[in-house]
Symmetry: none
Subunit: 101 residues, 2 copies
């Protein structure tokens, strides 16, 4: 187990920039977070979601992000989308808004 402690993946995760969008893509905010739990708390505060349950998916393809491990595999400035129960991810083209790289 001592060996494990020196592995990069077990070091304290660094704080990373994330982008978080509402389901209708009308609002997108830049949020720094060191992990999925941290991001969930900051999203709740920043988008004033109060106690309404929500989850995060990747904005680009609707992939649900629900483990810390998977969150840590994502690149800086990954765009997340907030979905509430019953909401479904939709591709940008169906909303009449196009993002360009």
């Amino acid at each position: 187990t001592q060996q494990l402690l020196s592995e990069p993946s077990l070091e304290a995760p660094r704080t990373r920039p994330c982008k978080v969008s509402t389901a209708d893509r009308s609002v997108r905010k830049g949020i720094m977070a060191c992990g999925l739990e941290d991001l969930l708390l900051k999203v709740r505060d920043s988008l004033m979601l109060a106690d309404k349950p929500f989850f995060l998916v990747l904005e680009e393809d609707g992939t649900t992000v629900e483990t810390e491990e998977y969150f840590q595999s994502l690149a800086d400035d990954t765009v997340f989308m907030v979905l509430h129960k019953g909401q479904k991810w939709q591709p940008p083209s169906q909303q009449g808004t196009r993002y360009q790289l």
Copy 2:
């Protein structure tokens, strides 16, 4: 926690070049700022916004920048856009202006 103090991200932030655009992309100014609060003050003066409330988003994708932490994660010469309440970010193509990389 002592280790954290030596991390670059906790050093005094350096002054960095920023670019600030109006919502219609008709004006773009270069402004040096050491932080988000500093940039907001300089934008207000430079674009003569007086006391009209405004916020800053990334010109490239409309991400709202509202925390010092997220501001510090951005690269030099990041282009910000000034939006007033009720204004929405629009991609360049919808305004008939195209920027090239």
